[in-house]
Amino acid sequence: MSRLNTANETLAKEIIARYPRPKSALIPLLHLAQEQDGYVADDAMLHLAELVGVEPAEVLGTCTFYEMFKREPVGKYILNICTNLSCQLTGGEELLHHAEKTLGIRPGDISDDGLFTIEDVECIAACTEAPCMQVNYRYEYRLSTDDFDQVISDIRAGKRKDLPEHGTLGLVRQHIPADRLAGIESPEEAGTPDWFASRQPAPDESGKA
């Protein structure tokens, strides 16, 4: 769809300034683009390429490496339902089928109201709380089908203000004052880190250091 809007472009420049090399900012910038449009648009990638001084192909390479960056529009809320072992044993598959039936969509599709996309995911590292689901990457634990219905109706009723839209992961909006930025010199200039320099060389066979 579009390039970053003016406010986001300003924020993008602030994010870029946090890194010793502009292109290191690509991942937070991709989050920003996704937050703006709901997905990472081609034009947004072209804009990011200009902002960090790389070729668009390099932005595309970074973007497509990560599942969580969407290159096509998705629902406002992504429901990641786990069907890996622990969840499957405790009803993950059933939960997925229930979700498909309730929302009338298959994994990858967007519901008619534009609110939901279901994804069938592998382990999301909450096996002790199985079966589980993420809504825009925020967890819902030990979910029954009724609990699922409740989540959906709460979202529809606008009661879930705790969930960010489009799944943006928060850190892009941190405002760190310039004097508190850490480690911003480039690796070439940084020299040997203290923890490394302080290590004793390994003794050789004769036992000398």
């Binding site: 070729e55 668009p56 990560y66």
Partner: protein
């Protein structure tokens, strides 16, 4: 060799290869150390000229460094003392076979219709090391079969084994990361950004280094099978870098050019112009028979008739003949022509078509080699056109020097170039002020700005260049004509000043035209005879010949492969000259803008059709070898000259190429030691002894023109893809030139108050032309740039070479 061996013995790293005690160089990778000792380890991703990445794991061998044998990728492992390496063990063989089985899971078995089949590393390794059969019965990965990723390159993602060679090359070597790995895991593919084609000048190299048939070149696709090809070693003649190539043909037709790794010159890389412009040789537009003008068209005539008429036109009176060109010819042909012209007393001879730098700068300045210029710690002063556009393989070496070897690059150019981002300092003197800017540096006058360059920038550049004298750094000036709309005299002035600033500086002439170095060495220039000896009675240069023609003082114009109507910067002067002369004789391979206006056209054998040699910008001699028979009745240039000589009653004394060569060696001292038969055997080629010790006569300095406050000073340079004859006649390349544009700085653009790309009228004197205008951050204020010889605008019409700079006014 013996000295290297003895040092190796001292500094080498002792290791064991299959039980044999050997020695590796310091830091040498195991895969290289094994190769050097005669053990080939199979590989896909490793390439000597690219950073090792360990992508493919084909190179696993068993290595024991004291902790027991383990499989290790030999391309990622520097040899360490006492390392025990075994490339023959059962474990190694199983690993190799396993890796190949994994590769073949997704690789399609379409070898019978694959261009790579027959010369494919995957095929070869599968035969030599693979399991012979697969256990994989599932469906392979599928992608749309080849997708064009540029006009020249096609990508078949099913065949790709993800070795990262093409992507690494584009990023590391070419600096054009337009292709990248996209997606992840089993879905990983190489691709471009949507609608952003892989339009790198160096894209063909990825096709050459792809270890499978995933990347194929449009000009070669389905043209031949590798086992039908025969090859010979030769030299690329499209510019003066002299990149070494292998020329391949099938059924007497050139079908492919591959880069050969010459340590001294091109490191195996080629630009797409060097790689693909062979297509022109096969073009139907080639001249195949002698032609004589009959009204507005041509009649074909017999060779003896053509030779006779040419001889007659040349014997009109030696000062009434002008000869232009010669850079297309082999050194041998240049020598024979030079002898013929000398014998006829003709001295108005110029291989520079008014778009280069003075011959004495090329022949007289202290020379260096590419390797010395880019040695770590050196300083390079770029006072030449953008090397990426004119000398692209040299550009790769320069870029590598700046990025990898810490070479300092200083630019003194009219506009930003492709090296600007790698240069430590760039100054852009306004057209006409190149001499003044360098003179201010030589005089250490940094108080005021000169030619639009701040005093502080002048001081910084001067200090860097002067380092050669202060700390002994190697300083190389790459000198060329960066602005065709500016007098070449400014370049001479600037060189004179730079020599005062850095007396030890060495020079590399940025000659664009193929064998121009050879032509100047062989005396196809008004001021020098063969071997660079100054003539007693210098003749006229191109501009003077054309002026003499306009004034009725030249009757015969002989074009040796030159196309002055297209190449000479001042279009009006050259067309008036053509209108005035009685007879124009062209020896050429195509009907060009100029040869189409000739009275007599003699068809010459071209690239790939003649044996001979080539002298590159360093003065390095390399072979040109015939691979196919010449088109139609076209003949070797030297034979044409010899026949004309005979017809004039002169005996040059040669009937064979060998005789030409021994005469050449005998009469030109720098060629005395050349072993002609060995030329094709070494990848580097001998560097001719540059033993001359005469100084350049710089003459008086050129006056700095007054600045027209309302106009923009014009900077005219060239693009790689222009409407040149070879490109125009190569089917795949012909469409690549972009439309001409006027570029101005952002400030000037704002002052014009136009939209991006809007068409404006430019005028110089009484001449006007229309062209689209864009803003370009690489331009200094007050300078406007237009590329020469692009479709849409003939900028030569606005250039008057009597003016030392060209100023244009822009109107909406």
């Amino acid at each position: 060799m013996s000295t290297t061996e003895s040092t190796e013995a001292v500094t080498g790293v002792p290791f064991f290869l299959n039980g044999q005690a050997l020695s590796a160089n310091d830091g040498e990778l195991l895969i290289d150390a094994c190769e050097r000792n005669g053990v080939h380890i199979p590989r896909f991703c490793y390439h000597e000229r690219l950073t090792p990445v360990g992508m493919c794991r084909m190179c696993l061998v068993e290595v024991d460094t004291g902790r027991g044998a383990a499989l290790q990728p030999s391309c990622m492992l520097p040899v360490t003392p006492e390392m025990k390496v075994n490339t023959e063990t059962e474990a190694t063989k199983r690993a190799q076979s396993g890796i190949l089985e994994l590769f073949l899971i997704n690789h399609p078995l379409d070898c019978p219709v694959c261009d790579k089949g027959g010369e494919c590393p995957l095929q070869d390794n599968a035969y030599a090391f693979g399991p012979g059969e697969t256990r994989f019965v599932e469906e392979k990965r599928h992608y749309e079969k080849p997708i064009p990723i540029s006009d020249l390159v096609n990508l078949d993602r099913e065949r790709c084994i993800l070795c990262d060679r093409c992507t690494r090359f584009s990023k590391e070597v070419a600096g054009d990361p337009l292709i990248h790995f996209i997606d992840r895991g089993n879905e990983t593919q190489v691709n471009t950004f949507p609608d952003h084609p892989f339009s790198s000048y160096f894209s063909g190299n990825t096709v050459q280094i792809c270890p499978v048939g995933a990347l194929t070149a449009t000009p070669y696709r389905f043209k031949a099978r590798p086992w039908d090809l025969t090859a010979t070693e030769s030299t690329a003649t499209v510019d003066s870098t002299g990149a070494r190539i292998a020329l391949q043909s099938s059924r007497d037709e050139m079908v492919r050019v591959l880069g050969v790794d010459s340590e001294a010159v091109n490191w195996g890389w080629l630009s797409d112009k060097e790689r693909f412009s062979y297509e022109a040789a096969n073009s139907d537009a080639r001249l195949t028979e002698p032609l004589a003008k009959a009204g507005s068209s041509f009649d074909s005539i017999r060779w003896n008739n053509a030779i006779g008429q040419t001889a007659k036109a040349l014997s009109i009176g030696s000062d009434r003949v002008g000869v232009l060109g010669g850079a297309r010819l082999s050194v041998e042909a240049q020598y024979v022509w030079s002898k013929l012209l000398q014998g006829s007393g003709i001295s108005n001879v110029d291989a520079n078509i008014g778009d280069g730098i003075a011959a004495d700068l090329v022949l007289g300045l202290p020379k260096t080699t590419i390797a010395e210029a880019v040695a770590p710690g050196s300083i390079i002063v770029l006072m030449a056109p953008d090397p990426k556009e004119e000398l692209p393989t040299l550009f790769l070496r320069l870029r590598h020097a700046a990025v990898e070897s810490g070479v300092t690059i200083v630019e003194i150019t009219p506009t930003a170039t492709s090296l600007t981002t790698h240069a430590s300092l760039s100054i852009h003197p306004a057209p006409g002020s190149l001499g003044a800017v360098t003179e201010a540096m030589a005089n250490q006058l940094f108080g005021t700005s000169v030619g639009g360059v701040d005093g502080s920038d002048l001081e910084a550049v001067a200090a860097t260049i002067a380092k050669g004298s202060t700390d002994g750094s190697n300083v190389t000036v790459i000198v060329g004509r960066s602005n065709l709309a500016e007098s070449a005299d400014f370049v001479s002035d600037a060189v004179q000043s730079l020599l005062r600033l850095a007396p030890e500086a060495k020079f590399l002439p940025a000659l664009r035209r193929g064998n121009l170095m050879g032509a100047l060495e062989m005396g196809l220039t008004p001021e020098f005879g063969p071997g660079g000896n100054p003539s007693d009675e210098p003749g006229l240069d191109t501009e003077a010949i054309l002026r003499a023609a306009v004034n009725g003082k030249i009757d015969t114009l002989l074009l040796l492969g030159a196309d002055p109507i297209a190449d000479f910067p001042d279009r009006n002067l050259v067309t008036s000259a053509f209108n005035e002369v009685n007879t124009v004789v062209a020896v050429d391979t195509f009907l060009t803008d100029s040869s189409a206006r000739a009275d007599l056209v003699l068809p010459a054998a071209g690239f790939g059709e003649v044996d001979g040699s080539f002298l590159n910008l360093e003065g390095r001699l390399s072979p040109l070898q015939a691979k196919v028979t010449a088109k139609g009745q076209a003949r070797d240039d030297w034979m044409i000259a010899a026949e004309i000589a005979e017809s004039l009653g002169m005996d040059l004394g040669f009937t064979t190429l060998d005789e030409v060569r021994s005469d050449l060696s005998a009469s030109i001292p720098s060629f005395g030691a050349v072993d002609w038969d060995a030329l094709g055997r070494s990848d580097d080629g001998p560097l001719l002894d540059q033993g001359r010790t005469w100084s350049v006569d710089f003459g008086s300095r050129t006056e700095v023109p007054a600045v027209d406050g309302y106009g923009l000073a014009l900077a005219v340079d060239r693009k790689l893809w222009d409407q040149g004859t070879m490109i125009h006649n190569s089917a795949t390349l012909a469409e690549l030139p972009e439309q001409a544009q006027l570029s101005v700085s952002a400030i000037d653009f704002e002052k014009l108050g136009v939209r991006d790309g809007e068409v404006v009228t430019i005028e110089s004197g009484s001449i006007r032309a229309d062209v689209g205008v864009v803003a370009d951050t690489g331009l200094p204020r007050g300078t406007a740039r237009i590329h020469f010889r692009l479709p849409g605008l003939d900028i030569g019409e606005l250039i008057d070479c009597e003016q030392s700079v060209t100023t244009i006014r822009v109107a909406r």
